[in-house]
Amino acid sequence: MELRRIALICATLFLALVLSRGALAQQQKPAAPGFPDAPGKNVLVSKCFQCHTPAMWMDQRQDRRGWESTLYRMVGRGALWTEDEIKAMADYLGTVYARKPQ
């Protein structure tokens, strides 16, 4: 009985730990509605949401090259990104916010 009680307590603690870590992760994850998980998302969220709301992306649909051009224009406005970071963001946006089929 005692063992079962200890086991139950341990299970509860483990579950609480898992849930709390999940909740923590949820809290730490930047709010980015409309931005599905995919490679490049984290770079985008950390670099672009500093200045822009998600609305900037919702209505913009273009191919990867268009996105790449947009990102380099942001460099002209003061964004400090490496070429690799720009590539990762262009890949992501070119996939997630690609031009809508006509």
Partner: protein, 629 residues
């Protein structure tokens, strides 16, 4: 004839009266005019000598003449105005006062911008004159700019004469004319008598030029210009309070202690650094502490951008948006007005905040201030640097050195990353990227060029502004559009030996191109480059951000931003004002056009390039929708 000469030199008779007297005495008109011209320098020298050591001169003449005399005594060399018939006696007075030059501007707005540009670039006082309230209201847009920018520009316009017309809601009349400018000026006043015109003007100049600077306005009924009076004019130095104040020493000690003990201090610079010629002093303090330096939106670039402690501009007007440093614990503002454009404070809660500037009125309005240093920024920096030096120990020196190195590493990396702008896959496209136009101009500009910037959606890069002997920036801080071309004309008038390049968006340009005519007439060789994308880009992006996914997006129907169909040709407009100009579609054409612009300016002629720029961003089509009639 001797008596006539004496009366003319004592201003007892006018130029016309002198000529009439001579011709009545039998002298031909040509000979009389020749005699008159020979007397002008004598009259000038006599007038200049007449203000005694006490700075006071008694004048006798019309209200218009008294106005001219007081302007000379106030140190004014150029008057900017638009035709105002009720100022006839003032124009009459100008004829014999060649030291006071009148610049006729074909619209009051660009005229006031030209005056402000001249004032900012020369540091000299000037006045803008308009015809009654109808001219005044045209000038008020630039009065707003002067108020926001704290430019000490004096405005004057007469009001309806009180001898019979005033008070009837008559032609060009409005009640309480001097009151309509009240929210935009430091001082507005109506002269009650003709002999008070000089006094009113003196006070207008004194109020404008007493820190914090700002525009002032004076007015009087037009018949006062015609009345003959005897009154005093007084030299400006006899009324100027010369308010250059040192900061409170106890506060200086507190600020120095905070800075020395800081883990990561951050300096924000602003216009007062440039206007008090204190750039080298700001550099010295930053270097002493190994302190990174940034700047929020202002008119001038007030720190050398190639300096290793420069970390770039505040991207969205908040210190928290800087890439570096991320966690400053002490922030010092040196002379920046810190104009907020969002609910968030530019300086966040947390770091200690030191505010050094002359404008005590705006201190503490948004940010809690730990150490206020109300002072002339140049004196303030001197005192603060001295106090910091007293506290610097060897270990502090080592700490500052290590911090300097950390900032330098960031600064160098940032410089490399900024250059990536040219990797844009559309770099060579036509019509051009705005960034490409900017890069070409940055490469073209002389090492000490002055850039007047009123291209709202264009971020400058590659210029490496250095107010301490290098390239200088004049930005449109006030944001009432239509100031760029006028400002550039005024800057060139003040600094004729410097290359002046005006960068202006098509939307801004079309609000105020008339100063091109002044450039042509006065041979002010300014190079104007219009970033012409046939649209208002800023408002386009902002409405989309306000209503994402809205009906405008769905239908592509934007009512407010497309300026094409027909496309405006800015080169034709320039040619109409007498300025040589051309359209550049591609980077190669732009390079060639800049070469021709340089040649024209070396010949003393202004030049305009209509640079065709691509529309970029959400929902722009090649042929945008146009509202039907």
């Amino acid at each position: 004839m001797r008596e006539l000469v004496a009366r003319y030199l004592s201003h007892s008779i006018s130029r016309r009266g002198f000529l009439k007297g001579l011709t009545t005495a039998g002298i031909s008109v040509a000979a009389a005019e020749s005699i008159l011209e020979s007397l002008v320098p004598v009259a000038h020298a006599q007038d200049a000598g007449r203000i005694g050591a006490d700075g006071i001169k008694v004048v006798e003449g019309t209200g218009g003449q008294c106005m001219a005399e007081q302007l000379i005594a106030s140190g004014v060399k150029y008057v900017f105005g638009n035709s105002a018939s009720e100022d006839a006696q003032f124009y009459e007075a100008l004829v014999d006062r060649p030291q006071l030059k009148y610049i006729l501007t074909p619209h009051e707005g660009p005229g006031a911008a030209m005056a402000a540009g001249y004032l900012k670039a020369s540091g000299e006082p000037t006045i803008v004159m308009q015809a009654a309230v109808v001219g005044l209201t045209n000038a008020m847009g630039q009065m707003f700019n002067a108020f926001k920018e704290q430019t000490p520009l004096v405005f004057y316009s007469y009001r309806t004469d009180q001898s019979g017309r005033a008070g009837r809601d008559g032609f060009e009349e409005v009640a309480n004319q001097e009151q309509i400018v009240a929210p935009l000026t430091k001082y507005s006043w109506l002269s009650r008598r003709a002999d008070m015109i000089p006094e009113t003007l003196r006070r207008a100049f004194k109020a404008a030029w007493t820190p914090p600077y700002g525009p002032t306005y004076c007015s009087w009924h037009s018949d006062l210009n015609d009345q003959r009076v005897r009154t005093e004019v007084i030299a400006q130095e006899k009324v100027d309070p010369r308010m250059r104040v040192r900061p409170n020493p106890a506060e200086v000690e507190r600020a120095a202690k905070l800075l020395v003990e800081a883990r990561m201090p951050l300096m924000i610079v602003g216009d007062e650094v440039t206007s008090t010629k204190a750039v080298a002093k700001a550099v010295k303090l930053a270097e002493l502490l190994g302190m990174p330096v940034t700047q929020a939106r202002q008119i001038y670039a007030s720190f050398p951008e190639a300096h290793p402690l420069w970390v770039g501009y505040l991207p969205v007007g908040r210190t928290s948006s800087l890439d570096f440093p991320k966690d400053p614990d002490v922030i010092i503002n040196v002379g920046n007005k810190l104009q907020h454009n969002s609910p968030a404070a530019m300086v966040p809660r947390g770091p200690k905040f030191i505010d050094l500037r002359i404008d005590s009125w705006s201190m503490g309005n948004v940010m809690p201030t730990d150490v206020p240093l109300v002072a002339d920024v140049a004196y303030g920096l001197d005192d603060l640097t001295a106090a910091v030096s007293q506290l610097v120990t060897n270990s502090i020196k080592e700490k500052a050195k290590a911090r300097h190195e950390e900032v330098r590493r960031f600064s160098e990396r940032a410089r490399t990353l900024r250059q990536l702008v040219s990797k844009n896959p559309d770099w060579d496209r036509s019509p051009m990227l705005a960034d490409r136009v900017t890069a070409e101009i940055a490469q073209f500009a002389e090492r000490d060029a002055i850039i007047v910037h009123e291209a709202g959606s264009v971020a400058l890069h590659g210029f490496d502004f250095n107010p301490d002997g290098g390239r200088e920036l004049f930005y449109y801080y006030g944001a009432h559009l239509g100031s760029g071309v006028g400002t550039a004309a005024g800057v060139k008038l003040a600094r004729p030996k410097r290359q002046v390049i005006c960068l202006v968006g098509d939307g801004s340009f079309i609000f105020g191109p008339t100063a091109l005519w002044n450039m042509a007439r006065l041979e002010l060789p300014v190079i104007t480059v219009v970033y012409n994308n046939h649209a208002y880009s800023g408002p386009h992006s902002r409405v989309i951000e306000k209503i994402p996914g809205g009906r405008m997006i769905q239908t592509g129907q934007f009512y407010h931003d497309y300026l094409g169909n027909p496309d405006m040709n800015m080169a034709y407009i320039a040619k109409g004002f007498g300025v040589e100009a051309e359209v550049a579609q591609s980077p190669a054409q732009l390079k060639a056009a800049l070469g021709r612009a340089r040649k024209a300016t070396l010949d003393g002629k202004p030049y305009l390039i209509d640079a065709q720029v691509a529309r970029v961003g959400v929902a722009w089509a090649d042929k945008p929708w146009i509202p039907s009639r």
